[in-house]
């Protein structure tokens, strides 16, 4: 048996037709065949059924000349012909159909069950509504923007899949007096939400609940009780500015303005800041920023672009002891830390300044030395290139020195004198 209250009967009732000439109703109540004068009636018309249940239907033909036969009639469901073994001729003018273990309706307007004449023309149709009654909505949460309104969101029971159009209605009333009211502005922050724009009382609790109804029944959520003052949120802080702190390469200063909408309501505010480097998706949060409108971020990487956002929590409105609800984050603001002038540990590749060519063979011992350096030293970017450039420089300066001292390339002294080594 389905959960929730049993709603309207499974066989949906037809609405009473308006008062019109009977001839017009007879003409329009059953579709005529594409050719000939035969018509038919399917029973039941537009039934509502539970998933997994069975359906017995009939197609009764009548027309001119009388004695129209059920021979040759067949059924389709959503355009697909049904196997003949599901049908049987009840009498000369009636074809029956038995469907078992029905699946949920393919479209909300109903599955199209059609009775066809032998030539394929459509004699009659009926729409099946196969689904589930709604389950209890839950997880109602509400917030008030600057105490002016109330927006609530909820989760439909059974994740909302009933295969039938299910209507959700948010109801509210003052706890100790007043009548039930129905929210009217739906889908404001998602498919299961509603917005109450005005006429809300403060300092007194409201009761709020959600009713779900479809052709197979209805269900009601638990009641949420709240005071508007306990669920206040506000706008994100405006005018967020991020700037460098002089030449400090690992710091940025963040400044903002408190949200103006609540300035008259004697509240304290808490703020949160979050920041991330430009290429990252991971935010870091600074949590302990209470009632200030500036903050300094430290321990940042030099020469890096950071995105920063700020949000506000208006707690303590009119002396309320409860925390408010965090606002949305402000629009991201970006700034970069200054570049570092000196290479830090593990940073700053040891790059040669000039483009002096390198020369010299690979030396096994040097290779071992460089390997040891990588493991045990900070300046890990030494390379053979640097070493060869050093050698070239040494040779050049040795040559120059020899010339000064008058030493010939073979090592013999020449006439020039220079400082002795």
């Amino acid at each position: 048996m389905p959960a929730g209250r049993r709603g309207p009967a499974a066989q949906s009732a037809r609405r009473p037709p308006p008062l019109l000439p009977l001839l017009l109703l007879c003409v329009l109540g059953a579709p005529r065949a594409g050719s000939g004068a035969h018509t038919a009636v399917i029973s039941p018309q537009d039934p509502t059924l539970l998933i997994g249940s069975s359906l017995q239907a009939t197609c009764s033909v009548h027309g001119d000349p009388p004695g129209a036969t059920a021979e040759g009639l067949y059924w389709t469901l959503n355009g697909r012909r049904l196997p003949p073994e599901l049908s049987r001729v009840l009498n000369t003018s009636t074809l029956a159909l038995a469907l078992a273990n029905l699946n949920g309706s393919r479209q909300q307007s109903g599955d199209n069950l059609v009775c066809h004449a032998r030539d394929g023309s459509i004699l009659a149709g009926s729409c099946l509504y196969v689904g589930l009654p709604p389950e209890k909505p839950f997880n109602i949460s509400c917030w008030s923007k600057n105490m002016k309104d109330l927006t609530c969101r909820w989760t439909p029971g059974a994740h909302g899949e009933t295969f039938l159009h299910t209507n959700y209605s948010l109801k509210y009333k003052l706890r100790w007096y007043g009548q039930d009211n129905t929210c009217e502005e739906y889908h404001t922050v998602g498919p299961h939400s509603c917005h109450i724009p005005k006429d809300l009382a403060l300092f007194t609790p409201y009761e709020i609940w959600v009713e779900a109804t479809n052709r197979l029944g209805s269900a009601r959520s638990d009641v949420l009780t709240l005071d508007i003052l306990d669920v206040v949120t506000t706008d994100p802080p405006p005018d967020v500015h991020v700037s460098r702190v002089g030449g400090l390469e690992d710091q940025l200063s963040v400044r903002w303005v408190s949200p103006p909408a609540l300035k008259d309501f004697l509240f304290q505010a808490k703020y949160q800041i979050r920041y991330r480097v430009e290429d990252s998706v991971d935010w870091k949060v600074v949590d302990d920023v209470s009632n200030q409108t500036s903050c300094r971020l430290a321990g940042l990487k030099p020469g890096t672009v950071y995105f920063v956002q700020v949000r506000c929590n208006p707690f303590g409105i009119y002396g309320s002891k409860k925390a408010g609800i965090w606002s949305e984050w402000s629009h991201p603001t970006a700034a970069s830390t200054p570049r570092s002038e000196r290479p830090g540990p593990g940073g700053g590749a040891c790059e040669p300044r000039g483009g002096e060519p390198s020369s010299g063979p690979v030396r096994r011992e040097l290779k071992q030395f460089l390997g040891w350096l990588k493991k045990h030293a900070y300046c890990s970017n030494l390379s053979f290139r640097l070493y060869d450039q050093w050698r070239a420089w040494m040779q050049k300066s040795h040559k120059t020195r020899n010339q000064d001292e008058g030493i010939l390339p073979s090592g013999r002294r020449g006439t020039a004198r220079g400082p002795a080594r």
Binding site: L24, Q107, Q108, G110, N112, L113, G120, A124, C127
Partner: protein, 202 residues
């Protein structure tokens, strides 16, 4: 009908100066009809999709339910004088809005989560009225008094409402019929106005 008969007839004396304005008006109305025909095609496609198969399947041939106060353009329509054709076009465009409203109300119950379809149906009613008024203005400018029989919109709408109340499947079929008639009459109006333009098809 020859092209000469279908095109603008030169008027006497000072009315000759009105011809460019009349031609501009006809051209404008023809463009509107052309645009609305495209919209009507989109409406029909969206409608059949939301009713579910077999409505969108090729070869789907539902019963052609009679719609009180409005029928499809007759095969003899093309052979009528252009003024008579435009009168019939205007009459059909006047009969369509209440029928489209009925279809929209029924679809609001059957497909409440289809705002685009509902909006298209609402727009279609408004657009039919606008085009009908424009065609009437062209007829008036041509000096043709609209003597043709008019559908009584309340009766047509009431009839459609009755059909809509009789069952979901017939309501779906009727909605398809109305959307189809809307497209047919828009296309017909576009063709009839096109014949009034210089160089229009015979």
């Amino acid at each position: 009908m020859t092209q000469r008969e279908g095109s603008l007839a030169p008027q006497a004396d000072s009315s000759v100066s009105l011809l460019p304005h009349l031609e501009a008006k006809i051209r404008q109305t023809h463009s509107l009809a052309h645009l609305l025909t495209k919209y009507a095609e989109q409406l029909l496609q969206e409608y059949v999709q939301l009713q579910g198969d077999p409505f969108g399947l090729p070869g789907f041939s539902p019963p052609r339910l009679p719609v009180a106060g409005l029928s499809a353009p007759a095969p003899s329509h093309a052979g009528l004088p252009v003024h008579e054709r435009l009168r019939l076009d205007a009459a059909a465009l006047a009969a369509l809005p209440p029928l489209l409203d009925v279809v929209r109300r029924r679809q609001a119950e059957l497909n409440p989560r289809a705002p685009r379809l509902l909006r298209r149906l609402e727009d279609a009613a408004r657009q039919a009225r606008a085009l009908g008024a424009a065609v009437e203005a062209v007829l008036a400018a041509l000096g043709a008094v609209n003597r043709g029989p008019r559908a009584e919109p309340p009766a047509a709408a009431a009839a459609a409402a009755a059909a809509a109340a009789s069952g979901v499947f017939p309501a779906k079929v009727l909605g398809l019929r109305v959307c189809g008639l809307y497209r047919e009459w828009l296309s017909r109006t576009e063709g009839d106005l096109g014949q009034l333009l210089p160089g229009g098809p015979a």
